[in-house]
């Protein structure tokens, strides 16, 4: 039986607290009667009720700590627990953002080191750690692009994105006020060069690209692409969502990218989601440095001693994009990860993530349609086309996987693949786990053929089976009333 809502467990007058009796005069309520609500339906429960409720809910979670989670494009790798231990050290967790520099030298050193390491990993000259998420990083990047062209007194109105791009790319460009122009993909899943050439002009501010892209494929024409965009004076923006498989092997800066964002919550093992904050540092090449958001952490010699300080002397800066200095405790986690892996370790991460994905792809392509059949990077995209002939859709397969104890892959993305199933195993899974998932997928393919209604009715083992997604979207009711 599913855990009821907390409102359903409520009982009038039940309390989770007991105040001591009042030993001061009663404060006259100064709120007007209209301002005070009588009918606020807050649940009334004991502390034990509340503890049990949320403990049970937490046990119903599908998470990376409980299940294999091959959610394509999200890099759901294991988040080592030592990172949380480090981030909760009081020297980090009890800092106040207004503490004077001499009291926070350690924290500033961490930021300084992370800036340098991310610059080295991505091939950029400078890094801002401020953005709180990937899309925030993208927006920061495009604001810098805008500031750069404004400074050069050039008016460029368009941003190019491939049709395989993450939705955040066109959304960011539109948010920054650009006209979005979509570039089709070629038969190998890369950017269609002829269309790119046709779309390029003096009106194009930037091309936003993920490489490897959302098909998990490395664009072999990347050097030609960056050359073409630069030839017309445009900027190359690298969406770092898929940085994992090229860590320590190739650098966006060396491909010719001018702006990069990295997702610490994907590539560098800080926790995803849960409503919690992410971190999307942005890197730039030298010519864009003047536009970075402030402050940047710098180092100088102070009477013979190394001294870290916050530099906000950037007159052309796009300004602040987040309060204080980014999500600091995530920066601690990210740095801990990079240092614990080292250069060799990062390279090994990339290699294993590619190996794992190709291992699964080769095992599954006999059973599922593989629209782009070539060596993939960290992820690959199958199509449930064959299964659709039996009336089983990608979403049915995703739900059936829950019964086998797996979090489903990303489905219906990228948009250019019909009935897409986008699978990213990451480097942290063992071969035994990959085999288990492969067996489940093969079995589901058989079920789809022999007993499609079994798959279409899944899941059977979760507290709640199928929810009415259509009704929820058409007539959303978010109230308990």
């Amino acid at each position: 039986m599913p855990e009821p809502l907390i409102f359903e467990k409520s009982s009038p007058e039940r309390k989770g607290y007991l105040f001591p009796s009042l030993d001061v005069p009663i404060f006259e309520n100064s709120l007007s009667s209209e301002a005070a609500r009588e009918d606020l339906p807050l649940p009334e429960l004991s502390e034990l009720d509340v503890v049990r409720h949320f403990t049970r809910l937490s046990q119903e979670n599908f998470s990376i700590d409980t299940h294999f989670y091959p959610l394509g494009s999200c890099t759901m790798k294991y988040n080592p627990k030592i990172h949380d231990e480090l981030a909760s050290l009081s020297g980090f967790s009890d800092l106040h953002p207004f503490q004077p520099e001499d009291q926070v030298q350690g924290a500033l050193e961490i930021m300084f080191q992370l800036q340098n390491l991310l610059a080295e990993i991505t091939g950029m000259d400078s890094i801002s750690l401020e953005p709180a998420a990937g899309a925030h990083g993208e927006f920061t990047g495009l604001l810098m692009v805008q500031a750069y062209f404004k400074d050069k007194k050039e008016s460029r109105r368009q941003v190019l994105v491939p049709d395989s791009s993450h939705g955040t790319n066109p959304a960011t460009a539109a948010m920054a006020g650009y006209e979005v122009v979509q570039i089709p993909s070629n038969s190998r899943g890369g950017v269609e060069l002829e269309s790119l050439k046709q779309s390029l002009s003096e009106n194009v501010a930037a091309l936003m690209l993920t490489n490897p892209n959302t098909l998990g494929l490395f664009d072999e024409n990347i050097l030609e692409i960056t050359r073409l965009v630069h030839e017309k004076g445009g900027i190359l923006y690298y969406d770092g969502a898929n940085l994992n498989p090229i860590l320590g092997i190739a650098r966006p800066g060396d491909f010719g990218f001018d702006v990069v964002h990295v997702n610490l919550h994907k590539t560098f093992t800080i926790p995803h989601g849960g409503g919690g904050p992410g971190a999307g540092p942005v890197g730039v090449k030298k010519f864009l440095e003047p536009y970075l958001p402030v402050p940047i952490v710098k180092k100088k010699k102070n009477s013979g001693q190394e001294w870290y300080y916050l530099d906000d002397h950037y007159p052309k800066s796009i300004g602040k994009i987040k309060a204080y200095y980014g999500n600091f405790l995530h920066l601690v986690r990210g740095l801990a990860y990079i240092l614990s892996q080292g250069a060799e370790g990062l390279k090994r991460i990339a290699e294993l993530s590619v190996l794992n994905a190709n291992y699964m792809k080769e095992a599954l392509k006999k059973y599922y349609d593989l629209p782009y059949d070539r060596m993939c990077q960290h992820e690959f995209v199958l199509s449930a086309k064959k299964q659709k002939a039996y009336g089983v859709k990608a979403s049915d397969i995703a739900k059936r996987l829950l019964d086998y104890g797996f979090h489903p892959p990303t489905i219906y993305f990228p948009l250019i693949v019909e009935e897409a199933l986008m699978i990213e195993p990451t480097e942290t899974e063992s071969r035994e786990m990959l085999d288990k998932f492969i067996r489940a997928m093969i079995q589901i393919a058989e079920e789809a053929e022999k007993n499609p209604s079994l798959v279409k009715g899944a899941p059977y083992t979760t507290p709640i089976s199928r929810v009415d997604e259509v009704l929820a979207a058409r007539k959303p009711n978010l109230c308990w009333c």
Partner: protein, 127 residues
């Protein structure tokens, strides 16, 4: 189902020419691909659209897609019934699920659109 009397785009819109005006919607193939439509955002009446510019949004339980204007022109009316009943796009893509109507269109742009035959080929002879 690909009616003979309509023009089509590669992005799966259809156009019905009627008294010098163009009625526009998305095809049966498109609605099948999208699945249950839950939200439609249409261009404002009076808006000037360019051929194949993005002019609206269609959201299904699976994905959010753009609506492209098959022709240049001025939006004369839009199908406001879709805001309360987006499911009409699924039930009747060529009828009650129409989206908007353009006036001041240029017939010369029709050559950039697909015939029923070419559209059928595009979607792989699905009828």
């Amino acid at each position: 189902m690909v009616p003979e009397n309509l023009y089509y785009t590669k992005e799966h819109e259809w156009v019905l020419l009627q008294n010098g005006k163009a009625k526009i919607g998305i095809t049966d193939h498109a609605q099948k691909q999208l699945g249950d439509v839950v939200y439609v955002e249409l261009p404002a009446v009076g808006a000037q659209l360019k051929q194949m510019s993005s002019c609206g949004i269609i959201e299904s339980v699976k994905a959010v897609s753009e609506i492209y204007s098959p022709l240049s022109g001025k939006v004369k009316t839009s199908n406001i019934a879709l805001s309360d009943h987006p499911e009409k796009v699924n039930h009747s893509p060529f009828g009650e699920g129409w989206m908007f109507e353009l006036e001041e269109i240029q017939e010369s742009e029709l050559k950039n659109l697909l015939s029923a035959q070419s559209y059928r080929e595009l979607i792989g002879n699905e009828s």
